[in-house]
């Protein structure tokens, strides 16, 4: 790690501490000015010390925080959520910076976040089906459209969402044009809607449905990015429902580690996310069991079926 990177890391830590203090409401009015100055110093330091820090930031920063336009009507709860999301994104930054500092790999800072492959921007704006729900659960099927689709994931998401009154987002465009489970689709409407649901506190659990081609793997593999995306008790509860219906499950899959949807939109324990990788055989032969397991799990643990 270079000297500049170390300094940048230190400044990120300062920023993290400031955010934490604000979040815990430790700052009195007298201290506000002092913190504001510290804050400015940290930001100036970041800009100066690391020429490409903006790329690090843009890679992890929650867009909702920097794009939110109704600042005058901010509720304390939303401010709190912004701060938590930001603090969590800095934690993710630490993980990345340390990971790349300890290897000779190039950090992902040079990648761009834009969906540069907007096929037809207008077409992309309506390339998904959104099902409004009442429960605080979102089912996502990002790869449901052929070619190269994860067969039946769209149907499973729709059925479970309708049965349980959950939210669902189902892609209607093939991943050969845009892969909603990659970092460079974060600004697409599909992903911005997830952002909106997360920050308006309408969801606190994301179930991202995928499929793998392997016939040898377990029926369902649960990816949680080594525990970064979900509380463990949610996973344990989910597993009991799969096992009850005779499905084999593997937790914390290393092969299907979890994609960008759960990596970016979750900040446990407030918003949790799992990527379910359902194997080909299970999607053909045990699809009703999968639907039952998910439905029962959501009905029992997916929050009240409250009015919007």
């Amino acid at each position: 790690m270079t000297k500049k990177s170390t300094k940048a890391l230190r400044n990120l830590l300062h920023l993290y501490n400031i955010l934490y203090d604000i979040e815990k409401q430790l700052i009195t009015d007298d201290e506000k000015e002092q913190y504001s100055k510290k804050f400015e110093k940290v930001i100036a330091g970041l800009n100066r010390q690391h020429r490409n820090i903006w790329r690090f930031f843009i890679w992890k920063i929650p867009f909702e925080v920097v794009l939110y336009s109704k600042e005058e009507n901010l509720s304390p709860r939303l401010v709190n959520r912004f701060l938590k999301a930001l603090r969590f994104s800095i934690e993710k930054n630490f993980v990345d910076m340390i990971k790349f500092a300890s290897s000779d790999k190039e950090p992902p800072s040079y990648k761009m976040i834009y969906p540069t492959f907007f096929e037809n921007p207008v077409k992309l704006l309506s390339s998904f089906t959104f099902i409004k729900g009442k429960r605080k659960v979102l089912l996502v099927a990002a790869h449901s459209e052929p070619p190269l689709s994860d067969k039946y994931t769209g149907e499973v998401a729709e059925l479970v969402a309708r049965k349980t009154n959950s939210y669902a987002l189902i892609s209607n465009i093939s991943r050969i044009y845009v892969d909603y489970n990659r970092f460079n689709s974060r600004l697409t409407p599909f992903r911005r809607i997830i952002d909106k649901l997360v920050f308006s506190r309408k969801i606190n659990l994301i179930i991202d449905l995928h499929g793998n081609k392997s016939d040898e793997s377990m029926d369902v593999e649960i990816g949680i990015r080594a525990g970064l995306t979900s509380k463990m008790d949610i996973i344990r509860k989910m597993v009991t429902f799969f096992e009850k219906h005779g499905l084999s499950v593997k937790i914390n899959s290393t092969k299907f580690y979890g994609g960008d949807i759960i990596a970016y939109h979750t900040f446990p324990p407030y918003v949790n996310g799992v990527q379910l990788e359902i194997n080909q055989r299970a999607r053909k032969e045990k699809v009703s069991k999968i639907i039952k397991s998910l439905t029962e799990f959501i009905e029992k643990h997916g929050g009240k079926n409250a009015k919007r």
Binding site: I22, K32, S36, F39, E40, I43, L46, N47, I53, W54, R55, F57, I58, I61, F63, V65, V66, L67, Y68, S69, K70, E71, L74, V79, F82, L83, L86, D104, Y110, K111, M112, Y114, P115, T116, F117, F118, E119, P121, V122, L125, S126, F130, P147, L148, S174, I176, Y177, D179, L187, P189, R192, I193, K196
Partner: protein, 470 residues
């Protein structure tokens, strides 16, 4: 020369990396899926399997999941042309069955920044009366081709457009690649055999071989640490390359990696023919050629300016790269005739592909926005000078009135204008760039009729937002 043609057999093998792209020409990270599809296609078609076995050694995916590489078997010049055509068509068939295309180009005009990078490696091996040639002859060919690398680079440089704009190099692949270092002149040296340093990619590693006791051995050295990832290199058991120590002398060859991918297959054929002719010419030389005094300078200029470069000849006089190339071509004509081959592309006139079929025109609707975006200053506040269209998150059209102020993230939208045929992108004509503003809940296509009121990077934007929030 009569002697040369009668006794020597030239075998050429080609390794070519290609991009897998979607129908709009953007990278599709599905090399693994294409390879799997290809296996299924070959398994069902016995004839195709036999042809694949005849022409190809194999294919493999590369570090980037949108790259795929095929490797041909060594063939004579007539057969290698068929092999390249076969390999490209085979890959295209597999890709096309998934709705994808192959793009045989060195850098992606929009998505390479500068990586991922593709290359074409041309391997040339020569047998004399079915037997491998000597170390001396190998070095002779190597040094001769190496002395002509500037001309070969100038005529094949083809990777000027990347990241949605023009780079300062005609061959950005050679300029930016981390695995295409400059080779040194080939020498035969008596070296200690059993401890050999080896440089692997960016890291120096040491490999130690425990073999039969041989105090010293005659080795061909083109790189002291036995690195094979050079612009041109000698491969095989006579070299100090660790990976080649178990190879047979029949596998001795010269590998030229300095060639950019040629989207037009005729250009690639012609470059192969020229390299083969240079190898034949080298065999007529009495001595091992010395290094061209201005090789390094000319190489650098060729990478920068391609065929428009100014080289220095052996006497230090300035000469146009094109003139230098045409002179070389004239000298090689008898060797080409002996091989019974003709140049069929514009290369015969000293015109590289970049001046013809891959000349990419860039149409940028708003330069100012592109510059901001490339600097990372992507949070902008604009004022409209006319009514603008806008779409909400669900694609519903609304209007933005003239004089309104909007803020959001600047997002470039690229459109690649291309020609495709039978699963292969045959030509890229241009790139159209326009920008969208992604606001909180709106997507707004931007026109030229806007005023940029404020612009800032993400760190400053975050600071401003937090200050307001807190």
């Amino acid at each position: 020369m009569q002697n040369v043609n009668q006794n020597y057999e030239i075998l050429i093998g080609v390794e070519e990396e290609v991009f897998i792209v979607n129908p709009n020409g953007f990278l599709a990270p599905f090399a693994e899926h294409v390879a799997e599809k290809l296996l299924n296609i070959i398994r069902r078609d016995k004839k195709l399997l036999e042809m694949s076995r005849h022409y190809l050694k194999g294919l493999q995916w590369e570090p980037n999941p949108s790259q795929l590489e095929y490797v041909t078997r060594p063939h004579n010049i007539q057969e290698i042309i068929k092999a390249i055509k076969f390999a490209r068509e085979l890959l295209a068939k597999a890709a096309n069955s998934l709705g994808l295309y192959i793009l045989p180009i060195s850098v992606h005009p929009v998505e390479s920044r500068p990586f991922p990078i593709n290359g074409t490696h041309i391997n040339i091996s020569i047998l004399r009366e079915k037997k491998p040639i000597s170390r001396n002859e190998l070095v002779k060919i190597f040094n001769h081709i190496r002395n002509h690398l500037p001309e070969l680079i100038a005529i094949s440089a083809n990777s000027e457009i990347l990241n949605g704009g023009k780079s300062k190099y005609k061959s950005s692949r050679l300029a930016y690649s981390r695995v295409l270092k400059e080779s040194k002149i080939g020498k035969i040296e008596r070296v200690r055999y059993h401890i050999r340093p080896r440089r692997k990619r960016e890291i120096t590693r040491y490999g130690i071989l425990f073999e039969k006791y041989r105090n010293k051995e005659m080795k061909i050295i083109v790189n002291e640490t036995g690195d094979r990832l050079l612009d041109i290199v000698i491969r095989g058991p006579y070299t100090n390359i660790l990976e080649d120590s178990d190879k047979t002398s029949k596998e001795s060859r010269i590998e030229i990696r300095a060639i950019d991918n040629q989207i037009n297959i005729e250009h690639l054929y012609d470059i192969i023919k020229i390299i083969a002719a240079l190898a034949l010419e080298a065999l007529t030389l009495d001595n091992i050629p010395d290094e061209h005094p201005y090789l390094g300078y000319n190489r650098e200029k060729a990478i920068e300016n391609g065929i428009n470069a100014k080289f220095l000849n052996e006497n230090g006089e300035e000469i146009d790269a094109k003139e230098s190339f045409l002179k070389m071509l004239k000298r090689l004509t008898p060797f080409l005739e002996k091989m019974r081959v003709k140049l069929n592309s514009s290369i015969s006139r000293g015109e590289p592909e970049i001046e013809n079929s891959t000349k990419i025109e860039i149409r940028d609707t708003n330069n100012k926005l592109t510059n901001l975006e490339k600097r990372g200053v992507i949070f902008v506040e604009i004022k409209t000078k006319e009514e603008l269209k806008a779409y909400n998150l669900f694609g519903k059209l609304t209007k933005i009135q003239e004089g309104e102020t909007l803020s959001g993230i600047l997002v470039p939208h690229y459109e690649i204008l291309l020609e495709k045929e039978d699963g292969i992108i045959k030509r890229i004509m241009g790139i159209k760039i326009n920008h969208w503003l992604v606001a909180d809940t709106l997507y707004i296509p931007l026109t030229n009729n806007i005023i940029i009121k404020k612009h800032r990077g993400p760190v400053r934007q975050l600071y401003n937002k937090l200050k307001n929030i807190i």
